[in-house]
Amino acid sequence: MELQLGLALPPPPLIPIETFDLNSYGNYETREALGTNALSWPLLKLGPADNDINNIHHHNSSSSSSSSGGGAGCKKRSFDEAPFFDEKRNVPKTLHLLLWTNQPNDEDDDPSNVLHENSSSAIFKNDGEGLVGWPPVKTWRKKVHHQIPNGGAENNRLPAVENGIGGRASKSTYVKVKMEGVPIARKIDLSVHHSFEGLTNTLMRMFGISDGNRKSFKLTYQDREGDRLLAEDVPWRTFIRSLKCLKLIRSRG
């Protein structure tokens, strides 16, 4: 397929991408469909196949006729107008919207799975703690809400945290800390710390290491990929973002 701009595409990829006449689409006038106040559907006219696509989530569009006079327009039938998209194209249905050809694919490569995976992977990306960036609350606002709402809290103290049932878990800012030679791990709240100095101070206190002995310990951490790194080799922000757990080790020499 070639664009009307007269430029040929590179050799078609394995799964051909739909190409469009950039000129004609851009000129489409939506206003002409607005003769009346009724917000009727044929604002954009689609072929019958796209009809199915629009019902991918089975939203019953006819029930949203509570809109201001746009009732008549909200029905599937209105899609049967002159097609906006070229009828001759192979517009696949529903879940195969992303699969632009009928060629079989590996399941891994199937883009329709990918969209699904993309939305659910957002959940897993955050290690099961919920969708990344949702609800859209800035990071430093999240910290506020961990306070006990009686106005007297001086330190952030987190109530019991987990809610692993696919819902949104409370955002835990606690990480495990182990010290070399000590069998029991502790937990530390990262949200109250803003620098390595502060963090180290807290850890020294936590494990009862005196100021004199401080130098014989090094702070290391394990990041998301499982690598073990020296905490002070990276900037604070990188450290905070990638760390999974902490370990205090005795420094050699």
Partner: protein
Amino acid sequence: MQKEMAYSFPDEVLKHVFSFIQSDKDRNAVSLVCKSWYEIERWCRRKVFIGNCYAVSPRMVIRRFPEVRSIELKGKPHFADFNLVPDGWGGYVLQWIAEMAGAYPWLGEIRLKRMVVTDESLELIAKSFKNFKVLVLFSCEGFSTDGLAAIAASCKNLRELDLRESEVDDLSGHWLAQFPETCTSLVSLNISCLGSDEVSFSALERLVDRCPNLRSLQLNRAVTLDKIANILRRAPQLVDFGTGNYAAELQPDVFSNLAGAFSSCKELKSLSGFWDVVPAYLPALYSICPRLTSLNLSYATIQSPDLIKLVSHCPRLQRLLVLDYVEDSGLEELASSCKDLQELRVFPSDPFGVEPNVSLTEQGLVAVSLGCPKLQSVLYFCRRMSNAALVTIAQNCPNLTRFRLCIIEPKTPDYLTLDPLDAGFGAIVEHCKDLRRLSLSGLLTDHVFEYIGTYGKKLEMLSVAFAGDSDLGLHHVLSGCESLRKLEIRDCPFGDKALLANAAKLETMRSLWMSSCAVSFGACKLLGQKMPKLNVEVIDETEPPDSRPESYPVDKLYIYKSVAGPRFDMPPFVWSMDEAVKILH
């Protein structure tokens, strides 16, 4: 005859006339009249606003406007606020500072938003600009109190230092002591974002003491309640004040001292801060409440009855930021007490909880819309909504310019009818003809986008999440919203069709962000190839997009218009589609 008229004014006269023209839009229009006006205008432009630091290069700006005194730059896309933009993406200001250091010795004002500012940049600012007056770092990161120390020490006439919402590596509070004794020029100081426990309070007190023009002061959380009175007594001329911690054991002398200090501030109109509030100390504010026009209680974890009491003392309130502890009852009180209210923001106290923890519903917002006819700007987090409520709000508040609704659970339908919320948001765009900014949430089909495309003619910024059914939705927006500048979309089933069909539209916008959608890598390449005025960037932290088939959707996509070409500071997980094309050919 007309030609002569244009030349009959000496340049000085034109310059003088142009000096009354402040807005960028007007200045840009002036510069298009004729060549000589272009020349005169560019030499006398003093203020430059760059909404996307990658849209133009420092050199280009300097070349065109040689005498700039004030610059404003924005870096990362808005969704960076919610961790959707990976660290290291970009937005570095250093190169700008370096180039301006040579070109603009008289640069006096730098305002940055969502940019990465290093200590090196701050030190360079301190060294390079002898007349430096204003530094605003809004939602910036990458610097420490060492950089601030350099600014404090060197900038002899510093008027404004505003670090709002920035992430600062707080190494020590002693940077405040770096302000020389001769510095008496401060008008505005916002250190509310600093986390340190050791703000050098004595240095702060002395600073406040010697700056008689200080109008705006926002302390950080580390400053305790008992210190507030000291500060206020040294600065009774304050107009805008942010407390630190507002908690202490209730002691009568502390209370009366505090109340007295507040009442001595006759100009105080705006309050914020209020971390860790002890409600018993709120009445200390009552003397100034009648004058208050702005109140930010969004950190105050106080319950509705206390909030109601406070708010009922503030009849002149125009702006309120509050947590959802205010509840519907609190908002009803707000609606009856504060008839001048223009802006309301209600934040969630428990954004990740599955069950509602407070009784805040759509009713609260409906009540405010009914009681506050001047309402213009809304940001509202809640857990349920109905089309009926949205229609009511739209009809009550036709003057809304910003409407951002976040229903916490994605794809939540109208709780009464279980319908999508298309009609409700449709009513908002239809009735609010001056709407410039809109954020959607809840269950939404392509219909809502049809409404938006039809009615949202003044809409400049649209945020969409978990909405729509097909490319039709995106097409409605791109083809209908004439004023659209910024569009940010996440987790919507929008793919190649609408994007490619409206490619030209993208050149009229500042930027488009799409993440977790269905735009294929091939489409991105095509856009990058066909649209040289756009930078098309694909973000993928897991693997290179060309290691998969071209039809595979990209993880994140950021497209913006630029005259500077592809940028040079992209991290490994950002791919420019311009480069990809170069490699192909």
